[in-house]
């Protein structure tokens, strides 16, 4: 019987290209993040539980808007935005887990660049967000929700910018919490609902007192939800959409800046 030996076949090749190319690194990180999602697709429902509950139990209470239009036409885009926000904010919990278990540390000691570790993870958010949007639209279509494919595509693009930015912030939070789950969840939960309610995803803020409307206008999600409602309805109002793109891009830039700084400072 021969003892298996641990040979060094890899040695000669290693000095070729060990990490370092950002696009390749980003793809590698993104694919790694998606593997568990693809193996257990049910996980995309995690972020959808609350929006689906609202769609089932809250939407029927809404009065139909004029012209025989289903109230879903107004409500669904808000739930799509909510799903994107919930999904992107909880995504950092994966990193929290990996910090605790040690796999994040292993990746930090690999030649994959720090930037790719953050960007790849953040970009991965787009995939579950797409699937979730399609599920919500498919579920609501039979109940009078009018599907406008072009508008939905445009709406999803705006949401993707937003989700990647929020995802980066969520990872920055996970890094700041240094793997302490309670800290991560406390901050995430504390911020989530004010942002959602201020954006008017459940109720319009038209009749709100002035101070509340100001806070709402300062919330990037408000502008995004406003545009999503138009886009999902097949309308493309230039100014509203421009505001939404600006808000989403702002969140994206700020999120990446904060996220990259956090990841860079994790060792060197």
């Amino acid at each position: 019987m021969t003892t298996p030996t641990i040979r060094v076949t890899a040695r000669s090749t290693r000095h070729g290209r060990a990490g370092g190319r950002l696009p390749a690194d980003i793809t590698r990180v993104m694919v790694r993040e998606l593997k568990p999602v693809l193996r257990e697709p049910v996980s995309v429902f995690m972020a959808m539980v609350q929006p689906l509950v609202f769609l089932a139990l809250f939407a029927p209470l809404l009065p139909d808007s004029g012209g025989g239009m289903s109230s879903l036409q107004w409500f669904v885009p808000g739930m799509v935005a909510m799903t994107a926000l919930v999904g992107a904010t909880i995504t950092g919990s994966n990193l929290t887990e990996e910090i605790t278990s040690g796999s994040h540390e292993r990746l930090l000691v690999s030649p994959i660049s720090r930037s790719a570790l953050l960007i790849g993870r953040a970009l991965k958010e787009i995939v579950p967000m797409l699937v979730q949007t399609l599920i919500i639209v498919a579920l609501c279509a039979p109940f009078g929700f009018a599907v406008h494919p072009l508008g939905i595509v445009a709406g999803v693009v705006v949401l993707a910018l937003f989700a990647v930015g929020v995802g980066s912030l969520s990872y920055a939070l996970a890094l700041a919490a240094e793997g302490q789950e309670w800290l991560f969840w406390t901050v995430q939960q504390t911020l989530l609902f004010p942002v959602l309610l201020l954006a008017g995803v459940l109720l319009p803020l038209d009749g709100a007192p002035r101070w509340l409307r100001w806070m709402s206008e300062a919330n990037p999600l408000t502008h995004i939800v406003r545009a999503e409602r138009a886009l999902f309805d097949g309308r493309f109002p230039a100014v509203t959409v421009a505001w939404a793109v600006a808000a989403a891009a702002g969140v994206l830039v700020a999120g990446l800046a904060v996220g990259l700084r956090s990841m860079q400072s994790a060792g060197r």
Binding site: S103, P111, G267
Partner: protein, 342 residues
């Protein structure tokens, strides 16, 4: 960028004045305190020391996870603080935690690790097969990591560290948390890997037996400093064997004199005066003669034991504290002051 570097002529590891401090509640804690160390290519070195001695902090600096507060370290000629990426290209690291994500499959993680190090997918697959045999990972790699046993996960961790055949492999407490059987297997696998690959291996451990069994060289670390650095045998032989004689209390002074002559210092006596201990260089060779001399004096010992020193004795003699938790450290009423022969 420095040019014309010749990393392969450089020592595998070279640290000078390596220091790391942490701030904790207005106090500065020095975890690693001016550590100097050189490890030649191909050596297998164990960092031995109690918990909190600074072993892992040292390892985290050497693997670019933690920037040094001051001092410098080079791995294969690359500076850990300024050339982190290049250092990461030539090292493997098995941390205290699990390298594979709990929601992932081991095979995906192994291939991903190899790809990150610039290997092709075909090379990665071939390497996975090699390591599957060597580390007994059959049936382990296509399951979710969360479902694996502790021993399986640890072998997978080591495989992740070995995928790209690193020049320098760091193992942070590789066998902690394993049962004795798995620990013995792990040690055998590390030994074989070192023999077959020629890689430089640095491991931390607080298991004395592990340092003893694995390393050609033991670096004893305490309070963030290297307090001894030699082969386990040399460290221990400097200490001498522990010779214990049980004698009638009337004979004790005469026996003590004989023992002192051999040991070079006065023996310790038990409270009842009937048991004498001393560290005797090469005690096993001398004890027969000692008994014969005593017999010539008309003294017959009731009992004799000769115990070879352990690395714990080495640590005890260096620091006055035992590496083993509890019993021995606590029972010594005063620190025993035994000299290590120079």
């Amino acid at each position: 960028m420095t040019t014309h570097r010749t990393p392969h002529d450089a020592p595998a590891i070279e640290a000078t004045g390596l220091t790391r401090t942490f701030r904790a509640k207005n106090a500065t804690v020095t975890a690693v305190d001016g550590l100097d160390l050189t490890v030649r290519t191909g050596e297998m070195v164990a960092f031995l020391g109690p918990n909190g001695a600074g072993k892992s902090t040292t390892l985290r600096m050497l693997t670019t996870l933690l920037p040094p507060t001051s001092g410098a370290a080079r791995i294969g000629g690359f500076d850990v603080a300024r050339e982190g990426r290049r250092v990461r290209g030539v090292i493997g690291y098995v941390g205290q935690g699990n390298g594979a994500g709990h929601w992932h499959h081991g095979r995906d993680e192994l291939v991903g690790q190899a790809r990150a190090h610039g290997m092709t997918t075909a090379q990665a697959r071939a390497r996975v097969d090699e390591l599957t045999d060597a580390l007994e990972l059959d049936g382990v790699l296509d399951r979710k990591v969360a479902t694996l046993s502790g021993g399986q996960r640890r072998r997978l961790d080591v495989a992740l560290g070995l995928m790209h055949a690193p020049d320098v492999l760091f193992l942070d407490e590789p066998s902690t948390g394993l049962d004795p059987q798995n620990r013995a297997n792990m040690q055998e696998q590390i030994r074989r890997m070192h023999r077959d690959s020629g890689a430089t291996v640095v491991l931390t451990t607080h298991y004395l037996e592990e340092a003893d069994a694995l390393a050609e060289r033991v670096v004893v670390i305490d309070h963030g400093r290297v307090i001894a650095d030699d082969s386990a045998r040399a460290l221990k032989s400097g200490l001498g064997d522990r010779v214990t004689l049980d004698v009638a209390s009337g004979d004790a002074p005469a026996v003590a004199a004989r023992l002192a002559a051999l040991a070079g210092h006065a023996p310790e006596r038990s409270r009842d005066g009937r048991t004498l201990h001393a560290r005797v260089p090469d005690g096993r060779a001398h004890v027969a003669r000692l008994l014969a001399d005593l017999a010539a004096d008309g003294i017959v010992a009731d009992g004799v034991t000769v115990v070879a020193p352990t690395l714990d004795d080495v640590f005890l003699s260096l620091t006055g504290r035992s590496l083993r938790d509890g019993a021995r450290a606590a029972s010594g009423s005063s620190p025993r002051l035994e000299e290590v022969a120079a």
